[in-house]
């Protein structure tokens, strides 16, 4: 294989990689650390900003507590992964971010998360800040009317951020556990 062929093969693999990562996420520029946002972590009731995404790899899942199927199932699955990782799970930060801050207040989100693995953190705050955070990572969150209520269409991938707060990979809660654990271990080894 000459060097030009190798280049095309590498380019092709790169494009496939970007395509896989891009599923469920809006198109973004070059991967870079998250831009600024300021939210509240519901368990500690402390501020949680883009600076808190640094120093340790992070898994981010966006959803809402009124979601009957995907969100609770994904959070239970995340808890199983954390348990399977054993002591290594301490090196990973797992964060659930609501896309429905009007209904998901600090108190309500903290109460909701009490049903899941205690290590899963929760973020809520002003809508504008939620939107800034979603925008940082190309997360889709569309409010859809449903009768006299509403739902959200939202990105259902779990985003994987390296210790600089840069989106580097994603994992689907429906992935096989060994595949998911492989991605989480690779993230922690970065």
């Amino acid at each position: 294989m000459n060097s030009r062929t190798s280049l095309f093969v590498l380019l092709g693999l790169g494009l496939i990689g970007l395509g896989v990562l891009g599923l469920g996420l809006k198109k973004r520029d070059e991967p870079r650390p998250s831009g600024p946002f300021s939210l509240t972590e519901v368990k500690s009731k402390a501020a949680f900003t883009d600076q808190n995404l640094r120093g340790q790899p992070t898994a981010l899942f966006f959803g809402f507590t009124s979601c009957p199927d995907v969100c609770p199932t994904a959070l239970v699955t995340a808890g199983k992964w954390l348990t399977a990782l054993g002591p290594d799970a301490d090196k990973l930060r797992f964060v659930f971010v609501t896309v429905d801050p009007e209904r998901d207040t600090v108190e309500k989100l903290a109460e909701y998360l009490s049903a899941f693995d205690a290590r899963i953190l929760g973020l809520t705050g002003p809508r504008l800040e939620i939107e800034r955070m979603c925008g940082n990572f190309g997360v889709v969150a569309n409010k859809v009317p449903a009768g006299d209520s509403y739902n959200y269409e939202h990105t259902s991938l779990i985003l994987l951020l390296d210790r600089s707060g840069t989106l580097v990979d994603s994992v689907d809660f429906e992935d096989r556990e060994d595949k998911a654990l492989g991605k989480l271990r690779a993230l922690m080894a970065r």
Binding site: T65, P68, F116
Partner: protein
Amino acid sequence: MHRHVLFIALGLAVAPAISRSAPPESSLTVTAAWTRATPPGTRTGAGYLTIENRGPEDRLLSAESPRAGRVEIHGMSNTGGVMKMWPIKDGLVVPKGGQLSLAPGGTHLMLLELDRPIALGEKLPMVLRFEKAGVVEIELQVMPLGSKGPGSQPASRPGAAIR
């Protein structure tokens, strides 16, 4: 003699089939009806079931439960990394001689305005309304949070109920 035996055997084979030929209103059988325990602080849940239809085409029009302010039929998809959900207004066809399955990741009965969280160990009463078969009363088995399907036994660890 052989001919008599043959007739008796035929009679025995046919009899149970005749006795089971059901009146029209019971041509539907609901199986695997289940829901999940819900986390505290939320008032929504999802119900799943399978409807087997031995009769003519029917349509599931609506559902209600004394535990929920409203029950809606919702479609759902989780493709391309995005979850979408939408109300289904016109009900769902239960095909003639076939079945309709509502399962995680797809169409479900959305329970809204629950009066309290759904807990392991309880059975959730529900009424289904069909175009032809009329009203069918069922109970949903409650499975643990995160379950992907119904169990053959009732939830065996009530101590593990969601706080």
